[in-house]
């Protein structure tokens, strides 16, 4: 069931007694794209602060209470669009994470303290340094998102987090951590009326602060022609990434592109890894549909085999894309790709946390819940002709970004050197 409390909190309760556990998720519209200009990393740091204690669960007590309840997993995750907090507990202790999350939502801000802030800021800084990924990816993200885009990464994330203060995190928390900007999802083995009553008891009295919250907007990035990004650095692995603009999640074409990605990732006739690894061009390939609230890209990544030419890889990928535009080629590969997606859909359904996250996503994207039956029906309805047409519409050679990473031992800086060109 999906309903809203009077304070605006979205509530999704899905009862499934197959497993003796309950996954509880609270998702806030409080991801990094909600940060004001010049306050990068504020969403992530605020997520850390949200674990430091609340009026009734002071000083990291949340870990102790969840452990007492036998939580199998719990964490907080900040993405570009959301900040999410989850716990998986034995079914009989489902009230514990509800109690904790309501305290986090209502009674945390007053407990924000500077010593905890300084400690968490240092931890976030270390997380950034440990997980910052490759300079190739950072250059690519900068090429994708212009200076004022909410998804553009900061030039120096560690420096950005150092510039933040406690008052900034407090402001971000007050603005975004509120019932009318959140979705609470429970999936698992519970008694529905009792769960509903517990949710009402803990979350019903939580009041919104003054003001309103709105999601930042930005136009989908388009490619004006053939864009090329060349990154040269001391990193040895040669890489190629090719990106095309894809439709948003709610579009009818989105599923066609998801099936294309499945075909390229699979083992069939249109398998990209078979084509490239078999010809000694690559060590690994992956294809993904990277869709978020403000952008959607169809992306192919290739790790270059030592000695292979990036030009040859690009031509081989291009040839495979052309095959995706032909109905007869797609017809032969579609049954396997579709079966793989159906199978994944069924297996993912065993994961209650995954289901909870997807319910929250469905509400964000579609404004309603999508049943598994509807999801499977939509998947089965996609035809080879639709896929080929979508490939012709979106995967065009004239409008794409091709990013190459080339090893250059002379480049000594950590970030390497990048040049971005547009050929219209």
């Amino acid at each position: 069931v999906h309903y809203r409390l009077e304070n605006g909190l979205n509530v999704v309760l899905e009862r499934d007694p197959a497993q003796p556990i309950v996954a509880v998720l609270v998702s806030y519209g409080a991801g990094s794209s909600y940060e004001p200009a010049g306050y990068r990393q504020l969403a992530h740091l605020t997520e850390h602060m949200a674990f430091t204690g609340s009026r009734h669960v002071p000083n990291g007590g949340i870990y102790r209470e969840l452990a007492r309840a036998g939580a199998a997993a719990f964490n907080g995750v900040t993405t570009r669009d959301t900040a999410e907090y989850y716990a998986i507990v034995p079914a009989r202790n489902a009230a514990v994470p509800l109690w904790l999350e309501s305290d986090r939502m209502a009674f945390t801000l007053e407990q924000f303290a500077n010593d905890a802030f300084i400690f968490e800021r240092a931890r976030v800084r270390k997380e950034i340094l440990e997980r910052e990924g490759s300079s190739f990816e950072r250059h690519l993200q900068r090429a994708l998102y212009p200076e004022d885009h909410p998804y553009r990464p900061s030039d120096d994330s560690a420096e950005a987090v150092d510039s933040l203060e406690l008052s900034h995190a407090a402001w971000f928390f007050q603005k975004h951590y509120r019932p009318d900007n959140a979705t609470l999802v429970m999936v698992g083995d519970f008694v529905l009326p009792r769960a509903r009553a517990t949710v009402e008891r803990y979350f019903g009295p939580v009041r919104n602060p003054r003001g309103r919250v709105s999601a930042p907007g930005a136009a989908q990035r388009t490619f004006r022609g053939r864009e090329t990004l060349l990154v040269e650095s001391w990193m040895i692995q040669g890489k190629l990434a090719m990106l095309w603009v894809a439709p948003p999640r709610a579009s009818a074409d989105w599923l066609a592109l998801a099936l294309m990605a499945e075909m390229l990732n699979g083992d069939g006739e249109l398998s990209l890894s078979r084509a490239l690894l078999g010809r000694g061009l690559a060590d690994a390939t992956s294809t993904a549909l990277e869709t978020e609230r403000l952008s959607s890209f169809f992306r192919i990544d290739v790790k270059q085999r030592n000695g292979a030419g990036l030009g040859a890889i690009e031509r081989a990928v291009g040839a495979m894309i052309e095959r995706l535009q032909r109905v007869d080629d797609v017809s032969r590969s579609l049954p396997e790709a579709r079966a793989a997606m159906v199978r994944r859909e069924l297996w993912q359904n065993e994961d209650y946390l995954f289901r909870a996250q997807r319910h929250a996503e469905d509400l964000r994207v579609f404004g309603k819940l999508i049943s598994q039956a509807d999801r499977l029906r939509a998947l089965r309805a996609v035809t080879p002709a639709q896929i080929a047409a979508a490939a012709r519409r979106y995967l065009t050679a004239g409008r794409r970004l091709t990013a190459r990473h080339v090893h250059d031992p002379e480049v000594r800086t950590r970030e390497g050197v990048a040049s971005h060109e547009v050929d219209q």
Binding site: P20, Y63, R68, F74, L109, F119
Partner: protein, 490 residues
Amino acid sequence: MKSGARWLSWLVALWTAIACAPRREPLPPLTEPLTPTQDAPFRSRAPEPEPLPDRVLPEMRVDVLPNGATIAVVERPGSGLVALSLVIRGAGREPAGDPAGLAALTAELASKRARIGDGRLLDDVRIDGRRVMNEVEDDGTTFHLAVRRSALTEAVPLLVQTTTDIGFERRAFASDLVEHLDRVAIASHSVDAQLHQTALEGLYGVDHRLSRFVIGSVKTVRAISFAQAKAFRDRYYRASETVLIAAGDATLAEVRKLAEPILGSMPDAGGPPRIEASPRILPSEALRPIRAISNASAMANLMLAIPGPGMADGVEFWAFRVLVAMLAEQPRTRANAAVNHEHVRTYGIGGAVQGRYESSEAILGFSVEPEDVGSTLEAVLAELDAMQRLSHDELDLVRSRFLTGLAASSARNEALANLLAVWFAHRLPPTSAMALSETLAGLNPDILMRVARKWLRRDRLQIAAIGPPRETHAELDELAPVEWFRFEFQ
């Protein structure tokens, strides 16, 4: 530098600093009240958690075929899904006399080159878009396939086909070998893999079977012949060492009916079951020399390998397992608390236990800024010493979390099939899996402290590091002598 040029460079630096400074508007002040929600008595205490159920693993039905092959099924009608695992005990990591990677390559060949009834190779067959996958651990090899119930009739014969000798082909061997070599080359570049191998070499000796990558090195795999792979398979792929596991929407009767035509004809030649002796830990009077790999990275990575009891040791193994969870497997562990709160040196410590029938190791890993490597390591070692002082509360927290994790994963068919596969691979009786919750319930602080005194000792562990020597050597050297070397990709 001439003074004019110096001024110019300062001006450029100043301009860059100004241009790159975060451009931002001040944020508005907070609105009052900070907490608009009214407090209430029910908020003052968490709902009292209820005790965990006594039994967390579901019932399993087991049947043994006349040739000794076992079929174990957890029947869960109605889920529409079935996870299958085929375990070959004893076909795990090869003995020291065989080339490293032999077991892994043999498993790869079996899951690709076995030929099914209609003449196709396993490698060319997909069910629901998936093919048979394999996993080689210390005690056994496992083949996995998870399918919808509607595909069960096809999936069971396909999976057990990996045990047959048909189509184990010499002519495809060369290309399979090259493909495996590629995987080995890519995997051996991982920092964690290098650290792991380096630590275990210090613990067990360079040539010990446990010190080598399970998938082998480029040098050892390149030298494997088709005859060696076939001999390994003939020696270890035996009926009495084989267990077919199904978890999900299938009954024991139907799984047996589908598997028996192939599994029932599997030979059971060879000698007694292969069980390795417990590894001998090289003697040490204090902290043994730190093995360090020279690397120009900005961070230092450290790994501690701590030898532990085997899974056959029952209570002692599970006590060790719980101790390591307390130390480094949870978000708020002792080691994390010690390191982060006093020094703020590392983001966190990860820990895991690699269990085998006859022995185990705890592996603790973390990354740290090079100048803090010594103080952080000392904090972790001090916490290791402090594991000899434990409270009931602490044990209860970890135990309940452990049992819930077990309940959560065993409720999922694929995770349950994997769990049971591990259990069978380690030759542990199925009844002990069912009794795991009782075993954990029987642990108390006295048992844990006794096990901590026996196993969590500085003179038994091995430290490995990767980092820049100039920044880290002095820090490490204060704790123990450091042996620096370059990692050789062989």
